[in-house]
């Protein structure tokens, strides 16, 4: 058994805000010298204006805490949308070296394989406009949203669950007829993390998950119908089938209660195992174990099963959207899958001679044109990346760059990032008035609770356009197109 002997004891507490050194146009560093227990520097991709926002919460201190994990193989990175989370900041990337480096459930989060899928139609805004109400109504009937709205009718049998967890999207496409062969090329990792093992998953997780396939969940999850309203990169947009006024469908959700339970279960396992491996950390939520340990191996296999469930969840919702579009528009309503990409995972990836376990918590994989995992259709432009805006605001399509591998282990931002707590948003925003305002802007919103609407109001988030601009300027990914929502089904 590999143990990790080197620990520095409990770290000195952080006094004041960390000092950042500017080391690039949009890159700042907290050097190792800032705190004695840091093992690598912490780097943040941001600019001066956004840095002021980042400094308002505890995300920098949390990134410093991440940099104390034993055996990190690269700096701890903060993406431009970084904000305070629990343990890891949201918008954090950290890599350890396989086979003995650490894996930390907290570095992935409870919503394992939360991610985004984009489909594009051949319809344009004008042709869809008269049918929008009906379309949104049908979507809201086809995709269960919110907490506890799982349908028993959708229940997967134990055998189906086993295969979903082990085989992912290929099983849905080949055995259940949910999707097309060509979809598989356009899902990250082909929609299946091959090392998944359903045997490492608890009964509780299965119990939660088997009725949740094809459900949206709550919080900031959504299905949006949008139109392409701006193109930044013609060639990349064309490769992705995007042109001005074209109607798209964006799906943002994850592995639901299944993934939450896997994380809960293994956080406890790791928490109990840390003393055995001599690991001492400044935050219990960072609990981790070596990938080669029994606990680390079990978690990594269970996490992959949850990731497969997440891919399958978005595949199922995508199929429901295809069925609704077919009912509303016949053959002209066909939806092509542009791509499906995760923003809460840990994966083994090759960087030069090293195999690294890259944790992305609220960070999107953004591989460039020459990466072997970039699908054939995007070899000239880079892997598609989708950055959902806050509700009712624009979302963005980007393309990964080759330089992002060097800059941030092939990663970029994942969303707008919260700037304000839910409580503060609720006090500031009148949910009913927001609903009226969105309706006046031509956005059809399906969300039962006005209070919940207020908590997710655009004002509670950072300006997604600025986040994306910094991502572009930093070289992490290139801006391709902007999507404007016209229909929102809120989780």
């Amino acid at each position: 058994m590999e143990t990790i002997p080197e620990t520095s004891g409990y770290p000195a507490s952080v006094s004041g805000k960390p000092e950042l050194v500017r080391i690039g146009e949009c890159l700042y560093e907290i050097p190792r010298s800032y705190r004695s227990d840091m093992r690598v520097p912490a780097r943040v991709f941001t600019d001066e204006a956004m840095l002021a926002q980042i400094r308002r919460d505890h995300s920098l201190a949390q990134l410093v805490n991440v940099s104390t994990l034993p055996g990190l193989a690269a700096p701890a990175y903060g993406m431009p949308d970084m904000h305070e989370g629990y343990g890891f900041p949201v918008g954090g990337v950290a890599a350890t070296e396989a086979p003995d480096g650490l894996v930390s459930p907290g570095g992935i989060g409870f919503d394992i394989n939360c991610g985004v899928r984009l489909l594009v139609s051949s319809l344009d805004r004008v042709s869809i406009a008269p049918h929008l109400e009906r379309l949104m109504h049908e979507l809201s009937r086809s995709v269960p949203a919110g907490f506890g709205r799982a349908s028993r009718q959708l229940a997967a049998t134990p055998e189906q669950m086993d295969r979903i967890l082990a085989e992912g999207v290929p099983y849905l496409v080949h055995q259940l007829g949910l999707g097309r062969e060509e979809d598989l090329e356009h899902v990250e990792s082909g929609g299946c993390l091959s090392w998944a093992d359903p045997g490492e998953v608890s009964y509780k997780a299965r119990e939660r998950g088997h009725v949740q396939l094809g459900t949206l969940g709550g919080g900031n999850h959504f299905v949006e119908v949008q139109v392409v309203d701006r193109i930044y990169d013609e060639a990349a947009a064309e490769a992705m089938g995007l042109s001005l006024e074209r109607v798209t469908v964006l799906i943002h959700t994850g592995s639901r209660g299944f993934g939450h339970q896997v994380c809960t279960d293994y956080l406890r396992v790791m928490d109990g195992a840390m003393a055995h491996y001599g690991i001492v950390l400044p935050d219990r939520q960072l609990a981790c174990a070596p990938l080669s340990s029994p606990q680390g191996r079990s978690y990594f296999k269970a996490m992959a099963a949850a990731a497969n469930f997440g891919f399958c969840n978005r595949q199922t919702i995508g199929e429901r959207a295809r069925q609704v579009f077919a009912r509303c528009f016949g053959q002209s309503g066909a939806l092509e899958l542009v791509y499906d990409v995760a923003h809460n995972t840990a994966k083994l990836e090759r960087y030069g001679e090293r195999i690294l376990c890259v944790h992305r918590k609220g960070a999107t994989r953004a591989f460039g044109p020459s990466h072997p995992e970039t699908p054939k259709a995007y070899r000239a432009v880079g892997q598609p990346v989708f950055i959902p805006g806050s509700m009712g605001t624009h979302s963005f399509v980007l393309a990964g760059t080759d330089e992002s591998a060097e800059l941030a282990l092939g990663s970029c931002c994942h969303g707008a990032g919260r700037a304000m707590s839910r409580t503060a948003a609720k006090h500031m925003v009148d949910g009913h008035a927001l609903r009226v305002k969105l309706a006046q802007e031509g956005v059809v919103v399906k969300c039962q609770s006005s209070q919940e609407l207020a908590e997710e109001a655009p004002v509670a988030y950072k300006d997604v356009e600025k986040v994306v601009e910094v991502t572009h300027r930093a070289g992490l990914a290139r801006m391709v197109a902007r999507l404007r929502p016209i229909g929102v089904l809120k989780g």
Binding site: D57, S59, H83, E84, G85, Y86, G87, V90, G106, G109, F110, D111, G146, F147, G148, R149, K204, E207, R208, G217, G218, G219, G257, H260, Q261, C263, T264, L267, R268, D271, G272, D283, R284, Q285, A287, R418, A419, M420, S421, R422, T423, A424, Q448, S449, Q451, E452, E455
Partner: protein, 138 residues
């Protein structure tokens, strides 16, 4: 001291601080706070028969997280809100309770999990009683 709870500022999640005169009442109050996060208001009166719940953990703090995570799991599975707890026994590593539930048509805020970030359970030296702090992933 009466049991009470408050919600503290956190950019993306919900941070709960709980006060109570005794350790059992602290765990009971944490259950009520969780129910309030889920409904967005004071939870309705329990209408479902109380269910026995038993949780174990390595220490007091982990026990609080395990207790809340069990309630989150049960709420999702049973489709009712566990809001009326009666803690019969609590030590540093085990808790035995009966919890009544309320039927609710929908829940406002889904809670993914109770995290171990800044998790604390501690006696109040000067005032007497207990306090706890937990961040919920919502």
């Amino acid at each position: 001291m009466r049991s009470s709870h408050q919600f503290e500022e956190h950019t993306s999640e919900v941070k709960v601080r709980v006060f109570a005169p005794t350790l059992p009442s602290l765990f009971e109050e944490a259950c009520r706070a969780l129910a309030e996060v889920m409904t967005g208001t004071a939870p309705p009166r329990a209408s479902e028969p109380a269910q026995p719940i038993e949780v174990h953990a390595d220490d007091r703090e982990a026990l609080l997280a395990a207790w809340l995570n069990e309630l989150i799991y049960r709420t999702e599975m049973d489709g009712v809100l566990y809001s009326a707890p009666q803690v019969e026994h609590v030590s540093d590593t085990a808790l035995v309770a009966k919890v009544g539930a309320a039927a609710v048509p929908a829940l406002k805020t889904p809670v993914k999990a109770a995290t171990m970030h800044e998790l604390s359970v501690a006696p109040l030296e000067r005032e007497g009683g207990w306090t706890a702090s937990v961040v919920l992933d919502v």
